[in-house]
């Protein structure tokens, strides 16, 4: 091990304390995340995230965060924001990246830069109802990481692998989830 202090800006001590605490009080670990969405016009909508529930009580972000979503002009829309499927890619990228930083901190690996590019491919024949054999969603997601860190290439690969193993969004997109939708 080196004598230099490894700092990726992740408070691993606090995360480990939280893990310890939630092991003995599993109820506190039950979180509910929330988003609210409002239609603006056409395919343009505005979503906000502020409140969430966890540690046994209602919690709140420091401020309300807003996300515009729309479709691009080639799909006959006004392009007021990223498409919803791009927001899914954003979610996956952010989750994996946060995981890389946390795992690196835990393993005493100093990160210099972490960049990723995500590609989600889909055939619009699905959502446009042209071919019912084609699914609506991505037929695959490709993530490419470029990581500069003080570690061997196997150790860097292991960071990314461990990050996938612990990622909520990776789990959400790779595994089935029950979705119930109610109206009014």
């Amino acid at each position: 091990m080196t004598d230099t202090i490894i700092d990726n800006g992740v408070n691993v001590g606090a995360l480990l304390d939280a893990r310890e605490a939630l092991t003995s009080a599993p109820e506190a670990g039950k979180f509910t995340w929330e988003a609210s969405c409002k239609w603006i016009n056409g395919t343009h909508s505005r979503s906000t995230c502020e409140a969430f529930y966890g540690l046994g009580e209602k919690q709140s972000h420091k401020q309300e965060f807003t996300f515009e979503s729309d479709h691009p002009e080639v799909l006959a829309a006004e392009d007021n924001g990223a498409t919803p499927v791009e927001l899914v890619l954003v979610g996956l990228a952010s989750c994996l990246t946060a995981g890389v930083a946390a795992v690196a901190q835990r393993r005493d690996i100093q990160l210099k830069s972490v960049k990723s590019t995500l590609k989600g491919s889909m055939d619009l024949a699905g959502i446009l109802g042209i071919d019912s054999d084609i699914r609506n969603g991505f037929d695959g997601i490709h993530v490419h990481f470029e990581i500069d860190a003080d570690a061997s290439s196997d150790d860097i690969r292991a960071l990314v692998a461990q990050s996938q193993k612990r990622s909520a969004v990776f789990d959400i997109v790779t595994n089935p989830t029950q979705v119930t939708v109610e109206v009014n």
Partner: protein, 414 residues
């Protein structure tokens, strides 16, 4: 009703190892056995099963394998014989056909009711095994009733299964061994793979478990490692003990024609859904295996023993189809049976003490349970990583019996 200083539940290798050390300390004890010595080995294993550890590693306190095939792997029948011979060798006080029906706390320690007697004891060693009950994923109950499914506890051989394709769920030692055997028998296998442990059977000409013991990995103590909860839940390694010391990993199985799929996540009607994380599960296993091989190489170099071993090598990455199917239509694919190689659980339904965690395991530290006078043996990673293997029982039993002996002495003084 009988009062005795110590009662051991279970006459398997762990219970017998405890008896050895209690005899050494002169602690009066008996072993209550629901059936016969090595009961689970006799009744709850498949026909072709062999130990994962090579014969030269098979030992119990004061006793070791003495046959003429040190590099071989004991069959179930040979394992039973080994354990029976051990019971005889140490003259173990085993009472057979004494099924423990209940254990309750008592002012003197514990009261035990069996099918034909009652006992009072200040100290109790639970050595009733880690693999008494089948463990299934929650979605298992959604499997259509028209498709027969069994757990490895009931599996004996491929002839037991109906003709046609078989879905084997789980890729620990059990899952890969059954997939190998069933596919070889002519019933095509689809194997669902979650997180797993990949190991070569032989590395640099030596058995991998012998290497792991020799370099000290199997001796890692519970209080030395980073994440004990995780270490205790790691699936058994993809190993098989065959006379030709064959490596059985996912590449071996793919080469035979076994189809590899991701973790089984859900069943909807006739459709089985697999996780899209197969590639990462394989990557994790490959990286972890390579870290282990590197540790072994470094140990050999440090000791200057290169001449005694073959050259280092690295094995091909696990091959995963570019886009392995995420669904399986049981009817269309003509799946005729399912094997749930998804793990085992201990059976403590007879233990009326509030000492189980939320997963139903006894809370303990190195076999010393969170209840005065209660001890556990034979679970995964008790005092050391080798606890899972027969030779791991010795150190576990020694430490548990030292604590138990001190506990009884302190108690009798007070």
């Amino acid at each position: 009703m009988r009062t005795i200083d110590c009662v051991i539940v279970g006459a398997g290798h762990s219970g017998l190892a405890a008896s050895y050390f209690l005899q050494e300390s002169g602690i009066e004890h008996i072993i209550l056995e629901r059936g016969e010595i090595a009961h689970s080995w006799k009744n709850e294993r498949w026909d072709s099963m062999r130990l994962l550890t090579p014969n030269h590693q098979v030992r119990l306190p004061g006793f070791r394998y003495s046959g003429d095939n040190p590099d071989g792997y004991l069959t179930v029948a040979e394992t039973v014989k080994f354990i029976e011979e051990y019971a005889q060798f140490i003259n173990a006080p085993v009472l057979c056909n004494q099924e423990v029906l209940s254990v309750d706390s008592n002012p003197l320690g514990f009261s035990i009711v069996t099918n034909n007697d009652e006992y009072i004891t200040p100290s109790l060693v639970v050595a009733s095994g880690a693999c008494n009950l089948p463990s299934f994923p929650p979605c298992a109950e959604k499997l259509p009733e028209s498709i027969p499914s069994i757990h490895p506890l009931e599996y004996r051989n491929p002839e037991q299964l109906p003709p046609g394709k078989v879905l084997v769920v789980g890729a620990s030692a059990t899952g890969v061994q059954l997939a190998h055997e069933i596919h070889t028998s002519g019933k095509p296998v689809i194997l669902s793979v979650a997180e797993h442990v990949r190991l070569p059977r032989v590395y640099r000409s030596k058995d991998i478990l012998w290497l792991m013991e020799t370099v000290g990995i199997l001796d890692e103590r519970y209080d030395e490692i980073d994440d004990l909860v995780r270490a205790r839940s790691i699936p058994s390694p993809q190993l098989m003990g065959t006379p030709d010391r064959k490596t059985i990993d996912l590449n071996t199985l793919s080469d035979m024609g076994v189809q590899i799929r991701g973790q089984l996540m859900e069943i909807r009607g006739n459709e089985v859904l697999f996780s899209g994380s197969l590639k990462n599960h394989c990557e994790l296993a490959d990286l972890k295996m390579n870290r282990l091989l590197k540790t072994i190489d470094e140990w050999i170099n440090e000791k200057g023993l290169e001449a005694k071993f073959d050259e280092p090598e690295r094995f091909a990455e696990t091959r995963v189809e570019k886009s392995p199917p995420l669904t399986l239509d049981l009817q269309k694919e003509n799946i005729q049976s399912v094997i749930w190689a998804t793990g085992f659980a201990p059976d403590y339904r007879w233990l009326n003490l509030p000492i189980l965690d939320r997963k139903g395991r006894i809370r303990h530290q190195a076999g010393v349970a969170a209840w005065p006078g209660l001890y556990l043996l034979g679970a995964t990673f008790m005092t050391r990583r080798k606890s899972t293997y027969i030779h791991g029982a010795e150190d576990d039993a020694r430490e548990v019996c030292e604590h138990l002996t001190a506990y009884l002495r302190k108690r009798s003084v007070a």
